[in-house]
Amino acid sequence: MIYLDHNATTPLRPQALEAMLPYLRERWGNPSSPYRFGAEARSAVERARARIAEALGCQPAELVFCGSGTEADNLALRGAAQALRGRGNHIVTTAIEHHAVWHTCQALEREGFRVSYLPVRPDGVVDLDALTASLCPETILVSVMHANNETGVIQPVERIAALTRERGIVLHTDAVQSAGKLPLRLDRLGADLVAFSGHKLYGPKGAAALYARQGTPLAPLITGGDHERGLRAGTEHVAGIVGFAEAVALASAEVEAEAQRLGTMRDRLERQVVAAIPDAAVNGAAAPRVPNTSSLSFRGIDGESIVLGLDLRGICVSTGSACSTGDPEPSHVLLAMGVPARTAQGSIRVSLGRETRTDHVDATVQALADIVERLRGISSLGGEAA
């Protein structure tokens, strides 16, 4: 199997697994228990918190452990919106957010908040003029993702932070697709709330975190105890948190070298695809992107058919986010970038990772060329402009 869907999930690093095992086997105590057996689990959680804080440049007390990136996004958006409700009811986000943010904003609209969904430019970067223009005295929260899950396009979070900070607006960013792929320094990014997840960076599923800058107003979604400073009640997933911290520390140590390696391979992939396959395009290529992600469009054929064709040859890629698999509508991200619906429909996402080697890339391009040709042979759009 050639796995090129690392934006969906990544394999657990052996070191993370090793770090987790003691907390699944002998040290299974509850971190809230009053005896030393509990304290052992408690100190594992706090050591993990300190490791992540150290690796990403924040205070340990600014990290709230959650069960998933989606939960961290929910805590950020719903938690800040609720805490700030007295100050205003306007939220600003973008048209290219992951469902975790998008659908949560829609839910907040049903609760009476007004949400602006900002357009992006054709290169996939949010329009900063539109963002500035959208801010008003009622704006309490801005949420702009750090790197897009489909295109990998990086949003100018630091510049957005400059705009929100001077207006006293809380800024959230979904960094699920950038953490582990870019050198991430939470103290320099400027966002008040940052969501990131373990299983996207070779840690376990079920462990994620929300960074909440000290002093950021936030109400809990889950109540029932003092866990996570009252922001997320529930017995901690000790082993998961330990494995998450291990993965974050390892990813941070190697992020620059790995980004370089992946970027070179991604560029090779895109060069070969465009050279070998007529009417192929790379989406978002004009913007800065995380180095592992490639969004490719092929005229006249359907992306799901490409994905299945590759799957039957043992190659895993996706059409968009794993969460929208089977969704018959074309990607909202590509549509927002102005990609025509037909072209968006013929798009796939290839995301490389730690185990990816050059020969995987070459084999994938070869298979892709075959499949695209075969599907175009079936396509009713054969000779026409799509």
Binding site: D302, S305, L308, G326, R342, S380, L381
Partner: protein, 150 residues
């Protein structure tokens, strides 16, 4: 997973990514679709073009009619795996049938012949059926206009 205990009986919503859950017959028709292509103008007695406004998939279908039966059938599809496989199966079912029999082919017949299809992909099977009906109507129109073959 297919063999997850209890899933079927409890009638839980299908967890399926459609990609993973096509059965072997569907996959086989996706990989080797039957009757792909198009008929040239002399051979074409009926042509149908239909699209699905939601997913954007599209299908073209040609029939050649001899003595009131479908003598040749061909299709092209801009489509998802479901559209390709169901269209392929539809052409197999329709090939050689009399026009009256062909008119009675439903999307359920196609899905049944394939041994089932993920729920989210059921609408794909309508594409071929509608295209066939459109092609038959076209044939009927041509005959009424005096330039169709019987």
């Amino acid at each position: 997973m297919d063999d997850e205990p209890g899933t079927e009986e409890q009638g839980l919503p299908e967890m399926a990514g459609p990609v993973i859950y096509y059965n072997e017959t569907v996959l086989e028709h996706f990989v080797c679709p039957r009757n792909v292509g198009q008929l040239d103008d002399q051979e074409t007695d009926g042509f149908g073009l239909v699209g699905d406004p939601i997913c954007g998939d599209q299908m073209k279908l040609w029939i050649s009619v001899r003595d009131g039966a479908i003598a040749r059938i061909a299709f092209r599809s801009f489509g998802c795996p479901g559209a390709i496989a169901t269209s392929s199966m539809l052409t197999e079912l329709a090939d050689g049938k009399t026009i009256e029999e062909a008119k009675r082919i439903t999307d359920d017949d196609v899905v049944e012949a394939l041994g089932g299809i993920p729920e989210r992909k059921r609408h794909c099977s309508l594409l071929g059926v509608r295209a066939l009906q459109a092609a038959i109507s076209d044939w009927e129109r041509r005959r009424a206009a005096g330039d169709g073959r019987p």
